[in-house]
């Protein structure tokens, strides 16, 4: 029962990392809104519930599908999302963005709700297509005077963290009650998607 010598080190490193990353920004001498640019990017994906639902659903679905989808989907999503953001920044128009975002929540929620298991390529393609809509909507919304690079990095990291939240919740899939819970979560995402689709049509 002896504890390995590096276990306490790893534990304390984890605690230290949490404390360090929990700190508030000093904003002492910010150059050209750089810290603000990063924080704006970090907050942006979290600020819209439609985005949050879809991104968490990607993590949930990945966790349901297991390896390798559990990491392929969250890797594919930010990369293709950034491609969509790049298109938006270049001025390439994409019609029906709001419908696409709402549809992503509906379909990804249904995939979780019914625990669909398509081939990996199809699952990745579905996630990638929707990621373009999310990226296009997000990428162009940099507040003036802030660093584009830091905004982009914050934006991508926040997206990845939302996937990680979904994956973490999805780990309950190993238990029977957890599988039911995930299906219920998928249903909630679907209902949210329907609401946002209704809003998109009403607008």
């Amino acid at each position: 029962m002896s504890m390995k010598p590096d276990q306490p080190f790893a534990r304390w490193s984890g605690v230290l990392a949490v404390i360090l990353f929990w700190t508030e920004t000093a904003f002492a001498h910010v150059q050209k809104g750089e810290a603000a640019g990063f924080l704006s990017g970090l907050k942006h994906p979290v600020s819209g519930l439609d985005h949050v639902l879809a991104m968490v659903a990607v993590g949930l679905w990945g966790a349901q599908l297991g390896s390798p989808a559990i990491w392929v989907l969250p890797v594919a999503f930010p990369m293709v999302m950034a491609f969509g953001g790049m298109l938006g920044l270049m001025g390439v128009p994409l019609p029906g963005i709001e419908y696409g975002i709402a549809a992503s929540a509906i379909l990804l929620g249904m995939a979780v709700m019914f625990e669909l298991r398509p081939p990996l390529a199809i699952a990745a393609a579905l996630v990638a297509i929707f990621a373009i809509f999310h990226g296009h909507a997000h990428g162009t919304e940099l507040p003036p005077g802030q660093s584009g690079l830091l905004y982009s990095m914050g934006f991508v990291i926040a997206t990845g963290c939302l996937h990680a939240v979904g994956i973490t919740i999805g780990t309950v899939h190993r238990w029977g009650w957890g599988q039911k819970f995930l299906r219920l979560a998928g249903a909630v995402v679907t209902v949210g998607g329907v609401f946002f689709m209704w809003k998109a049509f009403a607008a």
Partner: protein, 215 residues
């Protein structure tokens, strides 16, 4: 008894002297220079901080360090020495008066290349990894040198910068080399995908900026 008393007296007699020394120290402080906008931190620290505060420099170095770490200790060691050395050479060349500024698209391409290789866990040969390290070092060193211009403190700034590059590679590569769990290695690859994604967006910003200037 006499000796103890004289020791106590000696200690007590020193109190005014200590008090005077403390008083002088308190009344004659050096300026704090907390706001370093005008003074800087000295050239070496300026170089060090410049690197740590410049994501366009830091992120590609981090990506290459993580990639080298994934490949093993030999790759990590090669990058550890090749990249700072190339950075120094590039920086010295960049100090020349005719040096030009960099291009945001090229910086973004470094994000794409290194982030993509890291995300794919590319099995590069040691020679290719070394070539990448040298090219990255030469390019970014050149840009840093061009930004500095030839002055008395430029060499010290470059040294600080290279020290920061060295330390970052040492920490990042050695951290990854010892990772055994597959999920931990996948987490490193996920970081690569984030760097790749940031590079895509950086291209978008560069194109948008160019259009804005043209307009």
């Amino acid at each position: 008894m006499e000796g103890v008393r004289s020791m106590k007296l000696t200690r007590q007699s020193r109190i005014p002297i200590y008090t005077a020394v403390v008083f002088v120290c308190v009344m004659c402080p050096l300026s704090a220079e907390a706001h370093l906008n005008s003074t800087g931190m000295g050239p070496i620290y300026d170089g060090l901080m410049h690197f740590l505060m410049s994501p366009e420099d830091l992120v590609p170095v981090l990506a290459l360090a993580l990639l080298s770490g994934l490949r093993g200790a030999t790759y990590g060691r090669r990058t550890l020495f090749a990249l700072p050395a190339a950075w120094l050479i590039g920086g010295l060349v960049g100090l020349a008066p005719l040096a030009s500024n960099g291009n945001a698209i090229i910086s973004a391409l470094w994000f794409l290349l290194l982030g993509g290789l890291l995300a794919a866990d590319a099995k590069l040969s040691l020679r290719v990894t070394t070539a990448l390290a040298v090219l990255l070092g030469l390019y970014h060193g050149y840009l840093n040198g061009a930004g500095l211009g030839l002055s008395f403190s430029s060499a010290a700034v470059l040294l600080g910068l290279i020290f920061a590059v060295f330390v970052l590679i040492a920490l990042a590569a050695s951290f990854v080399v010892r990772l055994q769990a597959s999920w931990a290695r996948i987490a490193v690859r996920v970081a690569g995908s984030w760097i790749f994604a940031s590079g895509l967006l950086l291209i978008g910003w560069a194109v948008r900026g160019a259009h804005g200037r043209a307009g």
